[in-house]
């Protein structure tokens, strides 16, 4: 299926050695944000995928190797862009703080 599962897909049964995983958590200060949307944009800025965050603010993508941008949308917040690199066999873990726009946004 093409559908998005809250928090992103499970790693259960997935051979992570063959995947380029980008995952993380969306927070507002110290609080996880469970009603945010995280979009994955490719190196040209084109939309590639989007997942709603889980109740604990988590999300996960299976990307390809290369440079990606995470764009986070949440109620009562400006969109936040964050650059992230992915590589096969590596799990890229990121924290997106929607109260603090990162320097590379």
């Amino acid at each position: 299926m093409c559908g998005a599962v809250k928090g992103g897909p499970s790693l259960e049964g997935v051979d992570v050695a063959n995947q380029a995983v980008i995952q993380g958590v969306v927070v507002r200060g110290d609080e996880p944000v469970g009603n945010a949307y995280v979009r994955l944009l490719d190196r040209t800025g084109e939309f590639t995928a989007e997942v709603p965050t889980s109740a604990t603010g988590q999300f996960r993508f299976f990307a390809g190797p290369g440079e990606w941008t995470l764009r986070t949308l949440a109620p009562r917040a400006e969109a936040v862009d964050l650059a992230v690199a992915a590589a096969i066999g590596v799990v890229a873990d990121v924290v997106v703080d929607i109260d603090r726009v990162p320097a590379n946004a």
């Binding site: 299926m1 093409c2 998005a4 809250k6």
Partner: protein
Amino acid sequence: MSRDTALVTADWVEEHLDDPKVVLIEVDEDVEAYDKGHIPGAIKLDWKKDLQDGVRHDFISKEKLEKLLSEKGVANDDTVVFYGGNNNWFAAYAYWYLTYYGHENLRLLDGGRKKWELDSRELSSEVPDRPATTYTAQEPNESVRAYRDEVVEAIGSKNLIDVRSPDEYAGRLLAPAHLPQEAAQIAGHIPTAGNVPWSKAANDDGTFKKDEELKALYADAGLDEGKDTIAYCRIGERSSHTWFVLNEILGYPNVKNYDGSWSEYGSLRGVPVAVGDERGEA
């Protein structure tokens, strides 16, 4: 069809929450989303359990649809408003599906569940109890559905639009990036198909772009308004989103959704396939 007859705003939905002839239906890929909170009064359809046959690789028959909608309390003269997560992908699929079976008054909530949530509008956990009806579906409207042989024949003669992401189109990814990159079929696209990712038709909040922007988007991709058009993706729900834009919002004639999409085409023996960012030859 036009934007005014196919789309409703979140404000319109709020104004019609108590209208007994307006049925809100949430269709989500994440089947738990509805259970955690939905628009007050909305009922739920599970795109897989409710709408797929389960044995044949196809959606449910006319008879099964009649039974389903009767049990859910949907009447033939109700205005059905679909909405859902993931920028209305599956809501658009359900809209297309009910168009196929001839429901008259269909609408899509512009922006879907995401826009509703980002606006911090009310969500309810209460499941409404609608009295059963006797729903009668129409005979299939084949003018909105494309099948594999027609798609092969369309190479080089009709507008083919691949609405997946550029990386899926080129064959660098086999599935959307929120899914593990595993699939049985080969990667690539149907030769001559232009790549207009569905997402280009939507704003970040999931609402559809303006008519002029949408027209320019497809014109820039070489869509010839004088020819018939077939849209496809991987399993037919993102291409329902684009079918909705072309057929329902812009009112282009003869637009079909190929719901077999790449999961079928990419598994066929002997058909032409193109890889890379270029369209490929007929």
